[in-house]
């Protein structure tokens, strides 16, 4: 056994370090189409201090390190592109504090989305966080490392807009805190300086997030999912503009999908409505349907597909089985809402070209300030030809996003290069300076956001 292995065992204990082929194989694989990239060690620390020891050691030895959350990015963002140590963060999973009146909670970054939801449901039933559509095993820290968006995106924005403070281990091993917690004033605001943008959305290339203060929001007891449907995709931006003007929904999603047939060539707008009473729900329905969407119904171009359905956790993994093959990956993008029709048409064309049932979904971010638009491509893990098709479709979609003037959300390496090619040179140089300053030895998730 190597000296590196023994050093890691000293830091976290023998049970939580491996350099055996079985673990290296497992952590070499992403759930999407990415080629495997093998780490040399896998380590599963339990505390911030253990993570710090690993980072200090890796920086001293100039060994690449890759922090891994739930592994749900699907874009290979936590694959060890240049080998080294994969740090599985999921044992940092404790709830540290919930401030009910201040509506925030402080958690360790490896905690799962499912655990946060369950914890709040049990102990603070008046509060909720913005849960992403990813499976519940996705982690809070991993989600923030890709900005994240969840089921409160319409009223409150990206998940990375809902952070009151961070604890981060810098690539050189120091533990830094950002927000009011940095001045010992609790975790209630992200201010003052410096801006958290040094770490949020950087895909673990500038540091390892170990603690997060998450903003929480009122959890309304009366909740329902309604769906409005139109055939003409051109109507979707207008309808979303109308609905966001009202500001009565918790979540707004437009989607079209070849499977199931009910969704094929139609555009279902999911409207999650909540309230503290049945009267409030009824009022919101009245405003939304009778006063706002009724014009589409009267003119025969739209209709109510369903009302008063339970709001359920999306089971996005089911998309992975559409080709009975256990795989799917999607391009996420941030687009203007007005781009929905073209995103749909051109995405469906790409899917058709690659013989993949199309799935196109857009979630409204903020007050129609943007849309997280995704194109999903299912593949059969056991059929290399379908994997190739999905991979090509993903790259074509990345190019489509840039061509349409959007930006790719949590891009894989291919998409990162496209963005950097178009990025203003001054911005690139600033990013480079930031990375070099924070990570002089280039150990943090190298291979992602390469600026040289």
């Amino acid at each position: 056994m190597s000296s590196i292995y023994h050093a890691l065992v000293d830091m976290v204990g023998e049970d939580y370090v491996s350099n055996q082929p079985e673990e290296l194989f497992t952590y070499s694989k992403d759930l999407g189409t990415s080629e495997p990239k093998w780490p040399e060690y896998v380590v599963v620390p339990n505390t911030t201090e253990e993570v710090q020891k690993i980072v200090l050691f890796a920086n001293q030895e100039k060994i690449p390190i890759v922090p891994l959350g739930g592994g749900m990015s699907l874009a290979g963002l936590a694959l060890p592109l240049k080998g080294g140590i994969t740090i599985d963060m999921k044992r940092l999973d404790q709830v540290i504090e919930v401030n009910e009146k201040g509506r925030y909670m402080v958690v360790e970054a490896g905690i799962s989305q499912g655990k946060v939801t369950a914890y709040l449901h049990k102990h603070h039933p008046n509060l909720m966080h913005s849960e992403p559509g990813a499976p519940p095993a996705a982690t809070i820290g991993g989600n923030l490392a890709i900005h994240g968006q969840g089921d409160l995106a319409h009223p409150y924005g990206f998940n990375s807009d809902m952070v009151n403070g961070l604890e981060v281990i810098l690539p050189t091993g120091e533990i830094a805190r950002f927000g009011s917690c940095a001045v010992g004033s609790g975790w209630f605001t992200m201010h003052p300086l410096p801006d958290l943008g040094l770490f949020l959305g950087w895909g673990g290339t500038t540091g390892i997030i170990t603690k997060v203060s998450l903003r929480l929001f009122p959890f309304k007891k009366f909740r329902e999912m309604d769906q409005f449907v139109v055939e003409d995709e051109e109507l979707v931006p207008e309808i979303l503009y109308d609905l966001t003007h009202l500001g009565l929904s918790e979540d707004l999603i437009a989607m079209s999908s070849e499977i199931p047939p009910l969704y094929d060539r139609l555009h279902h707008i999911t409207i999650n409505v909540t309230g503290d009473s049945k009267e409030e729900l009824e009022f919101k329905r009245h405003i939304s349907y009778d006063l706002t969407l009724s014009k589409y119904i009267r003119s025969g171009v739209g209709g109510i597909a369903s009302v008063s359905q339970d709001i359920q956790r999306p089971q996005i993994s089911k998309s992975a089985d559409w080709k009975k093959g256990g795989g799917f990956e999607y391009v996420g993008s941030i687009m203007p809402v007005s781009a929905y029709p073209e995103c749909y048409r051109r995405g469906a064309e790409i899917s058709s070209r690659h013989q993949i049932p199309y799935t196109i979904l857009g979630r409204v971010i903020g007050c129609s300030h943007g849309m997280m638009f995704s194109w999903s491509y299912a593949f059969n893990r056991a059929d290399p030809e379908t994997v190739r098709h999905a991979s090509e479709a993903l790259q074509e979609t990345d190019e489509l996003v840039m061509e349409m003037g959007g930006t790719i959300w949590k891009p894989a390496v291919f998409g990162q290069k496209l963005i950097l090619e178009k990025m203003d040179n001054t911005t690139v140089q600033l990013m480079k300076k930031v990375k070099n300053l924070l990570d002089p030895n280039g150990i943090m998730n190298p291979g992602n956001w390469e600026l040289d």
């Binding site: 079985e22 519940p136 089911k318 089985d321 093959g325 256990g326 893990r381």
Partner: protein, 394 residues
């Protein structure tokens, strides 16, 4: 071994590794897969295990002792089956068992597995103890051999040999005697039911055991069976029909529940006691029997019943399934599932952790001791709890 020969070749690749399989029903945490809770490496999760099995079958990975330990660390608790949202979920545990079968056919299994199976083959039990000592558990009890009574009381290996589980075997027998149930036992002629052998993938030995048991049952005219262990209950009820053995099989809690409800088993008062219940996987998730044990406990005078947060379909396995009560591939850590479960039982403030499975009984009692909780919480089989109340009657 080539993938093309593997029984589940057409679905093994369909696991997405989304991780639903790690959770209990309420999303409380990612630690409801006992092997993943113990090791916290993705390789030990249900999805990680399936990906590794496929890689081995594909030739991407070679067999190793470590690979085999990962595969055999699956306690077959079916938490993954319960939580996986995909439509092949019923076969997740079957895929793991089939890979164990391949390893056995290649003669490549970890030593504890080899020892377990050899002992069952040679002695009819996994402990390697002489068959002559199988009836030692009933010393002092007036229990008749089975000679056509209404029920065969099938005790199973743990109840027969394990000194702690023998207490449950005796208590159940006493209650059946007290209620006037017509039953007999096989005594030293009893052999392993083969449930763990099946979970370990030894198809040949399972067939041999099933055929021997079925022949013995047929010779004796057995039609109705009361099983002490949920593992035996599962094998006799679900596996034996595949070999031509079709019996009316009951878990002992189902029989006791009926005896209580029909007034044939009168319960005495006991001092006020707070009791929680640990669902055995082979009674619960494998056979959907969640009510019988609870009905008994709630019928006991003086008992305050407390539910652990993870219960019924969402219960955390003790880690003893698929031979692990003896092979102990999940032991040796603060995060061993039995120790986590002992802490969960203690957290609800129970005086007694009730069980209805001899494997769970031994696993959890050991865990309570290791956790230093024995002064706070006792682990008792449901039959023992009833006998504790009625002790003076025996």
């Amino acid at each position: 071994m080539a993938l093309t020969e593997y029984k589940y070749n057409d679905i093994i690749h369909r696991c997405f590794r989304c991780g639903y399989c790690k959770f209990p029903t309420d999303w409380d945490d990612v630690t409801n897969c006992p092997a993943y809770a113990r090791y916290r490496l993705e390789s030990y999760s249900a999805g990680g295990r399936l990906w590794l099995i496929r890689a081995w079958l594909n030739g991407e990975l070679k067999w190793s002792e470590h690979l085999a330990n990962i595969v055999y660390s699956c306690a077959a608790c079916k938490n993954c089956v319960e939580k996986c949202p995909l439509n092949f979920s019923d076969d997740i545990v079957n895929m793991v068992i089939a890979s164990k079968t391949e390893m056995i056919e290649m003669g490549k299994v970890p030593k504890p597995v080899k020892d377990f199976l050899e002992n069952v083959q040679m002695h009819g039990n996994p402990y390697g103890i002489s068959a002559r000592k199988r009836d030692a558990w009933m010393d002092g009890l007036k229990i008749m051999p089975y000679e056509g009574q209404d029920f065969l009381y099938y005790v199973g290996c743990e109840g027969s040999y394990d000194s702690r589980a023998q207490g449950a075997a005796m208590a159940t027998a006493r209650l059946l005697l007290k209620a006037g149930v017509s039953f007999g036992v096989l005594g030293s002629n009893e052999i392993s039911d083969g449930n763990e052998v099946e979970m370990l993938g030894e198809e040949g030995l399972l067939e041999e055991l099933a055929e021997k048991n079925i022949k013995q049952f047929s010779d004796l005219g057995v039609q109705r069976i009361i099983a002490l262990s949920p593992h035996s209950y599962n094998a006799l009820k679900n596996t034996y029909p595949k070999f031509g053995g079709d019996y009316k099989v009951f878990h002992y809690t189902q029989v006791l529940r009926d005896l209580i409800e029909t007034g044939k088993l009168i319960l005495s008062k006991r001092p006020k006691t707070r009791v929680t219940f640990h669902d055995p996987c082979f009674l619960g998730r494998w056979n959907q029997e969640y009510d019988a044990p609870r009905k008994i406990l709630k019928a006991l005078n003086g008992i305050e019943f407390l539910e652990m947060e993870r219960n019924k379909q969402g219960a955390l396995c003790c880690g003893g399934g698929a031979g692990n009560f003896l092979m102990d591939l999940l032991g040796g850590s603060d995060e061993s599932p039995a120790r986590i479960r002992a802490r969960q039982a203690n957290e609800v403030g129970a005086d007694i952790l009730a069980v209805a499975c001899p494997n769970c009984l031994t696993m959890l009692e050991d865990a309570v001791k290791v956790e230093g909780l024995e002064k706070k919480i006792k682990v008792r089989d449901i039959s023992e709890i009833i006998c504790d109340s009625d002790g003076k009657n025996f």
